[in-house]
């Protein structure tokens, strides 16, 4: 910049109104504290549990989501009799194969749970943008759950909601299956049940992977099934790891029950021979790798890079 241009720039900046009309400059002698994000696990979902929003959500769930689900992926619901007397609140623990799992399960819960249930959703995926956070918490009643690391805030929120009488849908695998096989359950659900004293209802969802799996390019309508199991509680002397294992086994059994029949599944269970949803243990680190995809190093997507010659 030549001398004349510099002079003009200086004159222009001098004529601009300074602080307080302009934002203050930051003293170089003061360290900046990183801004605390209001998204992710810090997103405040309180508003989505106000009565007017609940009313809108109920209308949406019963008037839009439920008919749409019935038309596109008609579900057969099993095991409702097992949970009709379960004390409220409860934690629904389901396998996770598709984005369709959430609307399918939320809209086909028995009525006594349906309109006072929140859904644990990945804080890094569903709450990373303001519009997404507002959409999911408003329409689905989602609350942010930190999947990739221990976060006291999301655990405390879930616990306080359970204590306030809200039931909770959680997908303890932490994300959708990439290949149709089940994934290991995380221990957070058992920890939550232990802290809140709520029972866990195992749920198996079938058919959504075929309709819209994680790597599907298109949506394929087709029938689905939901199978509710008996409520499970933390046993005396049972630790969190053992309880997690028991919940996972219960979901495996519900799956086998749909594949065969109730009696066969029961007999197989007594022989400890229920096949696991997880399939062959060959994936190892890829489970975690796949789950943490959102944390991959990002390069700004700009048409200027790489620069076209």
């Amino acid at each position: 910049m030549d001398h004349k241009a510099k002079k003009l720039t200086k004159a222009a900046s001098d004529s601009l109104p300074g602080f307080p009309f302009a934002a203050p400059t930051w003293p170089s002698t003061v360290a900046r504290t990183p801004k605390r994000s209001k998204l992710g696990a810090n997103y405040d979902t309180e508003w989505s549990r106000s009565y007017p929003v609940r009313m809108v959500r109920a209308l949406f769930l019963d008037g839009v989501a439920r008919p749409l689900i019935k038309a596109l992926i008609p579900p057969t619901v099993h095991g409702v009799d097992r949970i009709k007397d379960a004390p409220i609140p409860v934690i629904f623990a389901a396998n996770h194969s598709s984005h369709l799992d959430t609307p399918l399960l939320a809209s086909h819960l028995p009525v006594r749970y349906r309109h006072k249930t929140v859904i644990g959703a990945g804080a890094d995926y569903f709450f990373d943008r303001t519009w997404k956070a507002a959409l999911w918490s408003g329409l689905a009643g989602a609350i942010p759950i930190e999947r990739n690391r221990v976060n006291r805030k999301s655990a405390e929120l879930a616990e306080s909601l359970l204590k306030d009488g809200w039931s909770l849908i959680i997908f303890p695998e932490g994300g959708r299956t990439p290949d149709g096989f089940g994934q290991s359950f995380k221990a957070g659900i058992a920890q939550l049940a232990k802290k809140s004293g709520a029972s866990v209802i195992p749920v198996y969802i079938k058919g959504t992977y075929d309709a819209l799996g994680k790597n599907s390019k298109s949506f394929t309508p087709g029938p689905t099934s939901i199978n509710f199991g008996f409520p499970l509680s933390l046993g005396a002397g049972e630790d969190v790891r053992e309880f997690t294992q028991r919940i996972q086994s219960a979901v495996d059994q519900l799956s086998y029950e749909l594949e065969t029949d109730w009696w066969t599944a029961r007999i197989t269970e007594t022989r400890h021979a229920t096949p696991e949803l997880r399939g062959p243990d060959t994936k190892g680190w890829r489970d975690e790798w796949s789950r943490t995809k959102s944390k991959a190093t990002k390069v700004a997507s700009s048409s200027k890079w790489p620069k076209a010659e």
């Binding site: 602080f19 307080p20 009309f21 934002a23 203050p24 400059t25 930051w26 003293p27 170089s28 002698t29 003061v30």
Partner: protein
């Protein structure tokens, strides 16, 4: 998130201008590079359940005191004294902390069947409060129950029929206090400890004393040797009050002291920019500042004052302790320091500060030039522990319009003090020896004090003595943006701009001086090492 402690900023090129109070307005001043700005700690977290905390304090007293409920019995004479409207500043949002405490004491007294209860506003030589002010402090329920029956009184330091002389201290100080309080079976004192000067034995020994008693510590000698009077352990003002307090105790006056401390949540949301560090001002803060400062600047002073005096502070309770006076006060002081103390290393050549529209003696009134002097040299200068913030022979720069304005109802003797005394001399010792007695015993001032809402005739003298230590310590005082004639009458120098003020200051402290700005509000106390 826990509140941030106090902070000392070193000014650099990118530091935004610092906010100064300027009476009923504000100034933004760019300070020289290398200056220090002392920012107060953020308000402490409040006690979640103040009512339960008060109940707990009354039933679990400290020191050798018994629970309040066990000290009450049906035929007793119970007096409840309380601090007046000079605290806290600005007045707090309802319910005032005094109301919270006194209501619980009265509930307890009613349950015990105590009939003879009198409430006494501990005014010392302050003005009598108006009905609306009393209602604000005590709440309508207390006011309506006691005022009509003549059981809500305001201490009268000139009423010989209601004063009792309890004796002389070992230093020969008269101890004369309110008779009703002294002859009660129990005197409960309810205090608000805004700064570390308040409370302890000073509550009764000053708040309920007569002029005869007060003159032993409200004098030039005591004030010059109180370094500072905000640091009770180095304050002769406090030593004298403690001697008197112990004499009162030994004379058989049974005192149950209740002391409360508040956080520094001084201004409501609309003025929250006042409590933030300038570089952290958001768009909303800047907009609020521009709106407030423009409106206040364009309005006549009386209107700005009227608006500002309607502000009620959202102060919150941080501590309540009850029981024996000294044990209670030890805990109170710890609480005050926890909120206000900021460690500062080294003194400065020039100390700058902005003075607000309000001080302890002009609630709902005008900050006259003598009160400007007292607030700057008495209160703010003395907000230190250890050593003064400014070195001996240093310069104090105060920002205030300092108009020649007085409230003839509240401050009648101030007008004569300004016109007749200060035109003769500004030397505190000369003023004390030559004029104090005439003002203190003037029947017209005494009449206005006893029957109207006037400060006692001697009060402007005390204001002048309050600044005696600072006058003794400083090389010069410069008032930035003050009315030159009025400023000169106070014995100070005036400057229109900060650069002028700094140039004048350098003629006293030499070139390249160090500068420290005391950023207020809220209040802070410098612990100078």
């Amino acid at each position: 998130m826990s509140p941030r402690p106090g902070f000392i900023l070193e000014v650099d090129r990118s530091t935004p201008p610092a906010l100064f109070w300027h009476g009923e307005g504000f100034r933004l001043e760019k300070l020289p590079i290398g200056s220090r700005v002392i920012y107060p700690p953020e308000p402490l977290e409040a006690i979640k359940d103040p009512i339960a905390a008060v109940a707990d304090a009354l039933e679990n007293p400290v020191g050798d005191s018994q629970p309040l409920s066990s000290l009450l019995f049906p035929e007793m004479r119970l007096s409840i004294a309380f601090d007046d409207l000079s605290l806290p500043l600005p007045s707090m949002q309802s319910p005032d902390v005094r109301q919270l405490v006194i209501e619980q004491i009265l509930d307890m007294a009613a349950a015990k069947g105590v009939d003879d209860v009198v409430l006494i506003a501990a005014l010392a030589l302050h003005r009598r409060m108006t009905e609306s002010e009393l209602r604000h402090i005590l709440g309508d329920r207390i006011y309506d129950s006691f005022a009509k029956m003549g059981r809500l009184t305001q201490h009268d330091a000139e009423d010989p029929s209601n004063l009792i002389h309890l004796g002389l201290t070992d230093k020969g100080e008269d101890v004369e206090i309110n008779k009703r309080a002294a002859t009660s079976d129990l005197l409960v004192y309810v205090n608000v400890n805004l700064v570390s000067m308040d409370g302890g034995h000073k509550s009764v020994a000053t708040g309920l004393a007569s002029y005869k008693s007060l003159r032993h510590h409200h004098n030039v000698k005591t004030m010059v040797h109180s370094t500072s009077f905000m640091d009770p352990h180095n304050s002769q003002l406090h030593s004298s009050n403690w001697r008197m307090g112990r004499l009162i105790r030994d004379a058989g006056v049974k005192i149950f002291q209740v002391e409360t401390t508040l956080n520094t949540n001084t201004f409501p949301e609309s003025f929250s920019f006042l409590q933030k560090r300038e570089w952290e001002w958001k768009l909303r803060d800047r907009a609020a500042f521009i709106a407030a400062s423009t409106a206040l600047e364009k309005s006549p002073p009386w209107l700005s004052r009227k608006v500002l005096h309607t502000i009620r502070s959202p102060y919150q309770l941080t501590g309540v302790t009850a029981g024996e006076v000294e044990a209670v006060h030890d805990m109170t002081i710890k609480n005050v320091y926890r909120q206000q103390l900021v460690e500062v290393h080294g003194q400065t050549d020039i100390l700058t500060m902005g003075l607000p529209y309000i001080g302890p003696y002009n609630v709902n009134s005008i900050m006259n030039p003598i009160l400007v002097y007292c607030l700057g040299l008495g209160y703010f200068f003395n907000m230190y522990k250890g050593k003064p913030l400014v070195r001996k022979g240093g310069v104090l720069i105060l920002s205030h319009p300092t108009r020649r304005e007085f409230d003839p109802t509240f401050h009648p003797s101030y007008i004569d003090f300004f016109d007749n005394v200060l035109s003769d001399t500004t030397d505190p010792i000369e003023i004390e020896s030559k004029y104090e007695n005439a003002f203190a015993t003037d029947p017209w001032y005494i009449h206005l004090y006893r029957t109207g809402h006037a400060y006692h005739g001697v009060h402007p003298f005390y204001m002048w003595y309050w600044g005696a230590h600072a006058l003794d310590h400083l090389g010069a005082v410069i008032v930035l943006g003050g009315d030159p004639k009025t400023v000169h009458r106070l014995g100070f120098l005036s400057a229109t701009t900060m650069s002028d003020a700094l140039e004048i200051a350098q003629s006293f402290v030499g070139p390249d001086p160090t500068l420290t700005h005391l950023h207020s509000p809220p209040l802070l106390m410098a612990d100078v090492k």
